[in-house]
Symmetry: C2
Subunit: 733 residues, 2 copies
């Protein structure tokens, strides 16, 4: 295990997917794995967390910062840059232990070889900092020009976002202040440079670039190195971002690349100390899993107290850079067990966007809080009513993710509940968690319908996790999550008296708690939860069993266009039993005590062959439920699929004509959960972590640490034996 | 006014539409307006009422009988038949006073002219009989061959339906017994012939034809005439159809064409005596209206006590020959006022198909009676879940006409209520009408939903008359019709004691009447009926006002394919305010006392520009409501459109890739209602007919008769003056 992924060939076809596979980031920004000479045609992006812009008539999406890494070379007047110039040799490496991207490329010229070697990274020590080391050597003498600066002509899916880009050269720095369209917020990128050789430098300014042209006559076999520091700030960070950028730039340039790099590595090391999972196995499971964890570290919002994580991390503008249920349901556990402060930041984001969720509920005529399906800052729902393009007519298709995928609010409550269970930090309730839970329960309350001739409460016209079946009634998962929400609301009402005076007063001022308790109790009692039929199968929604029962292969064979959407009103899956992703299985995984093991096994066996696994959220749910059913052999391929989602790539890149490529942090989080809860089998007994392992046959041993209610535990598994040791030293760190 | 429509040119393009325009029929069968030499390529059809067949995997549809009119000529060995041989002169005429189709065609040959003149009709005296007179004359000498017999190779949309066709020649008759696929019912067609000249006759039998070849040497300018009688029976009519066919054939051949024709004309005359509407106007309104009435006569099921009328009459297999709400809501009035026995037959059909409606309700998990959207015999719902083909993918589109257009059951109740109002014949209640009404009310009862946090009852997930907006909540029309159904159910419960002992006993045995009364009362009180907003506009369904507000022209300009469906999930109209047909306007027309005139006018003015009028059911609703609002000028063009639907043709012939051509009896019935209730303004006061006319400015006077509660009234309108006279003589007829 060398904690590296490498690619030793160059193929234009892989540029987009390598952007995600070799991603580097620090939670503030994500740098797609791209060569320094790439521009927007190669999907370069320095994707920024939590700042968005909307161009009129287009989708609202996060910003990509102007690219301060932009660098290419010219030898005797001829440009050598991928992908136009093909290399003789080419290596890309991501050192994911230390969070460093590097590349080595050898071009063959008429006179001889030219070698470029570079390293860059998003500093984990200072999230506003990117450092680059760029070396060039030739085995012949030549006129060399290194062009480097800031490329403001960024890749956008729904851009361009920068209304103006003002460049200046000041005290040797290139400074750029770019102003975005929607609210005139500013993005400030600066870069400064040092060289270890003498050269002439000219400054070139184009419409959206400011570049240095560093030219010199090279000696054969001498290595010429430049070091760059790049800073990225936005007007969201602070008011005096110009001053801070400049001083950071100066200070970091002073330090030099090696010191910056060492500081960066040190932070990474401290992260791994708590989060690495050591596996002795006959396959590469340890690499897949820690590579997944790497991605979760790259996108953790450490710089904020209230921020969440987009579904595609910081790998670009896919899915509008928006926060989905993925974060609470798939990623949260990792942070809870390894870095609970991040978990708190994620939960706090939802609490702080309660106002947006209440507005959305009101917009649709509901009460309470209807969280955004695609949440941006302030809880703004970026989800369009037309989220997919019809490949046959090129028309936008009316989709119902925004208005019918009502299980999102329950995911928020689930996140808070998980946070409370693992951290025991009830301050989150004091800080608005209690209102968040009550408002989500009120939302479901206002969704409840009853047939006039019946007493049971139903939820109609929703989309469950399986998005291929729209506007269904009584989706089991949704109803169960609504029930969970009522349960949690009842619990926090019970717990209210144990909270602070001011919280009790605030809550009682705003809610008629006794009435709510009665209401929620009644809803709990009457809410219809679909039950297993005679065969033990839970019908995913009313009428699912009447749909055509065909195989995924048959459904696939009916496609007329490779990119056509399987769902919607007329998709190939819509009128069949083929589902996109775990739905009933997600329910059973979250609530394994609802039914006995036999029912869980039957439903796993029933739904798995009917699941396309068209979402990266699917595999881990099947893996985890299989573990709960004692079917570790069935779980293992789904674990590998989930852990390898980004390592191997190859996920869906299109939904209709919409690009959905990028990293899959939910799959990474799902793999993590499967490993520690499924295979290692950790659980809580008398407030302490225990383990009941069932390692896959490929694995000999496993070692990792988790934090539970402030105490760190080291778990060692060897075959069927587990040891769980408290780590009092770590808890103080 | 000469009671004729004529066409004096020949154009291949018009063959399909002329089939409908020149239709002739007698309620048992409809003969499309076709030349005798036409075969299925020219959409010949002798369409049979109430007998259906289904070929596996295809739509169930009514039968077209083998064509006993099939006849063509050969001159000196060369065939002269439209459309292959183009005519020198050509005239087609439908005498709709007398129900006779005739044609005259002159072919130019190398030697001179050949003239064919023919007349045929479906006998109104004996509905199993078709008579043909066929004359040929040449202005030169030649070898002539007349080929005539039965063509069993019929036009089908979803055929072929005949599994076997057994021909025989017996006593000079050609006899055919054809057996259909689904249930082996039989169709028996016989033809016999007489000539007034000497000729050789050879019999030719092909796979699905038996033909006589009558050959002779013609003299110049002599007219050669053949007369044919054709009988059509099915095994549904009687067991000994063979014997009866033969004796009918013999008897009618004996009579000869002229006598048969006179008997036929006499029946037509008796129909016109009661139903004609005399209009003195500056335009052709009288022709349009009586031509519409002609079509209503052609399809009236006089031969049955329990049968209804398909949406496209007897003009072919369009819409599966099924009965829609068209019959009760648009056609019934005409029969009620001119031939109440037919109205009773139509109502009785629904009562007799109650079992089918109850089964359908059960199939969807509802109580009571959910009538078929496309009703065939026994109430079988022929409506497919995939009623439209996507023009872009050629895939069937999931449509919701069958399962969501729940207003159909209320239409049945509306029909019964109208029947009771106009005829006062409560025997219809005794014969099952009461159960029909109660079961329909039970159906709506089981549809009612209430939000748990609200007390009002709602109806969700329906399609209203405007089919372009699927799966909507609280469609005003639907909710209002459900309310009407509850009202009628309450009324018949009140009336129960006045019915016969046996009815009272039967109803009490099957229903807990007291409980039903309580239930229906509660539903009536709580059912939500959308109300006018501040602008006086009633929102067609929840959320309609949030849809894009564009013009019909803009929506049309977005079409990518001329035949694409405007509705469905992604149709050009679906997410706009553009509606297919009158919806709120239909409601206001049926219940003009719900709101004041100002509200009706506002809604007329609001919805009319947003209506595509893509259904022939739309125009008359706008016409009638305009009359109720005193806007006769606005009403008139819609009246003309409705009355001229078949006279002028040009209606929609395609829904997606499905052929929907044929006649439009609902438009005909709508024109009738507009004329007598709108312009003549008849109404009931103290159980007698009165009139409060508002003739269009184009009209000087108007004269017609109606039957109300067994009494005939003659209404004469002259400008603003109306006289209404009872006609005691007629009532005895």
């Amino acid at each position: 295990m060398n904690w590296k992924i490498e690619e030793k060939t160059f193929d234009v076809e892989n540029i987009a997917s390598e952007g995600s596979r070799f991603l580097n980031g620090n939670g503030y920004l994500g740098i797609r794995g791209a060569m320094e000479e790439y521009d927007k045609s190669q999907l370069v992006a320095i994707n920024l967390a939590g700042i968005y812009d909307q161009v009129p008539g287009k989708w609202r999406e996060p910003l990509n910062a102007p690219n301060g890494l932009y660098t290419f070379i010219t030898i005797d007047g001829k440009k050598y840059a991928l992908p136009e110039a093909l290399p003789k040799e080419h290596e890309v490496c991501l050192d994911y232990r230390n969070g460093i991207f590097s590349r080595k490329t050898i071009f063959e010229t008429e006179k001889g070889k030219v070698t470029i070697q570079s390293e860059h990274f998003a500093s984990m020590e200072n999230v506003h900092l990117i450092a680059l080391s760029y070396k060039i050597s030739l085995d012949f003498q030549a006129d060399v020009e290194i062009t480097t600066g800031i490329d403001g002509n960024v890749w956008d899916i729904n851009g361009p976002h920068y209304e103006t880009e003002d460049f200046q050269m000041l005290e040797g720095r290139i400074e750029l202040v770019a102003v975005i369209q929607e609210n005139h917020h500013q993005v400030c990128v600066m870069e400064d440079l040092s060289t270890d050789f003498h050269a002439r430098t000219l400054i070139f300014q184009g419409k959206d670039q400011m570049l240095r042209k560093i030219s010199f006559e090279s000696e054969a076999r001498k290595i010429y190195k430049i070091e760059k520091v790049i800073t990225v700030y936005t007007s969201n960070d602070c008011n005096d971002f110009l001053r801070i950028s400049r001083s950071t730039c100066n200070k970091e340039k002073e330090k030099g690349f090696e010191i910056i790099k060492n500081e960066h590595i040190k932070v990474w090391e401290s992260l791994w100390e708590k989060s690495q999972i050591i596996i002795d196995s006959e396959d590469n499971a340890m690499e897949l899993l820690n590579y997944s964890i790497y991605h979760l570290h790259c996108i953790a919002p450490r710089h904020s107290k209230s921020m969440s994580i987009p579904a595609r991390g910081l790998s670009g503008q896919t899915y509008k850079g928006a926060v989905f249920w993925d974060t609470e349901m798939f990623m949260l556990d990792f942070y809870l067990y390894t870095e609970p402060d991040i978990a708190r930041t994620i939960i706090k984001y939802r609490i702080d966007t309660l106002t947006g969720a209440k507005q959305k509920a009101e917009e649709y005529g509901y009460q309470g809080a209807f969280y955004a399906w695609e949440s941006q800052e302030g809880g703004f729902d970026a989800c369009s009513d037309y989220n997919v393009t019809d490949v046959f007519t090129m028309r936008p298709m009316r989709t119902f993710f925004r208005d019918k995928q009502v299980h999102i609010s329950a995911a928020v409550v689930y996140g808070i509940a998980q946070y409370l269970t693992v951290t025991d930090d009830i301050s989150i309730l004091e800080e608005g968690g209690i209102e968040t839970i009550l408002e989500c329960a009120l939302f479901y309350e206002s969704l409840l319908l009853k047939k006039v001739l019946s007493n049971r409460y139903e939820i109609h016209d929703v989309i469950g996790p399986d998005e291929y079946h729209e506007r269904v009634n009584n989706n089991g998962y949704t109803n169960r999550m609504a029930k969970f929400t009522f349960e949690k609301a009842m619990e926090v009402i019970e717990k209210l008296d144990s909270l602070s005076e001011s919280t009790i007063e605030r809550v009682n001022k705003n809610y008629n708690i006794r009435k709510l308790k009665e209401q929620f109790h009644k809803s709990l009692e009457n809410l219809y939860i679909p039950q297993p039929d005679k065969q033990g199968i839970i019908e995913q929604f009313d009428g699912y069993h009447k749909l055509e029962d065909v195989t995924v292969e048959i459904v696939k064979s009916r496609l007329l266009h490779e990119k056509e959407y399987w769902g919607g009103a007329y998709g190939v899956a819509s009128h069949t039993k083929i589902i996109k992703q775990a739905d009933v299985v997600t329910w059973l995984n979250l609530f394994p005590d609802d039914f006995d093991k036999e029912v869980m096994i039957k439903n796993w066996n029933y739904y798995e062959p009917r699941t396309e696994h068209g979402s990266s959220l699917s595999a881990c749910m099947y893996a985890m439920l299989a573990c709960k059913c004692g079917m570790k052999e069935k779980a293992y391929p789904f674990f590998i699929k989930s852990a390898g989602a980004d390592y191997y790539g190859g996920g869906k890149e299109w939904a209709g004509l919409i690009y959905i490529g990028g990293t899959h942090p939910a799959a990474a989080g799902g793999a993590y959960m499967t490993a520690i809860k499924g295979f290692a089998g950790i659980y809580v007994e008398e407030d302490k972590i225990k383990a009941n392992p069932q390692l896959p046959k490929e694995w000999k041993s496993m070692e990792f640490q988790v934090c539970h209610q402030g105490t760190w535990y080291k778990i060692n598994i060897n075959g069927d034996n587990a040891s769980v040791m408290e780590q009092p030293d770590m808890s103080e760190k």
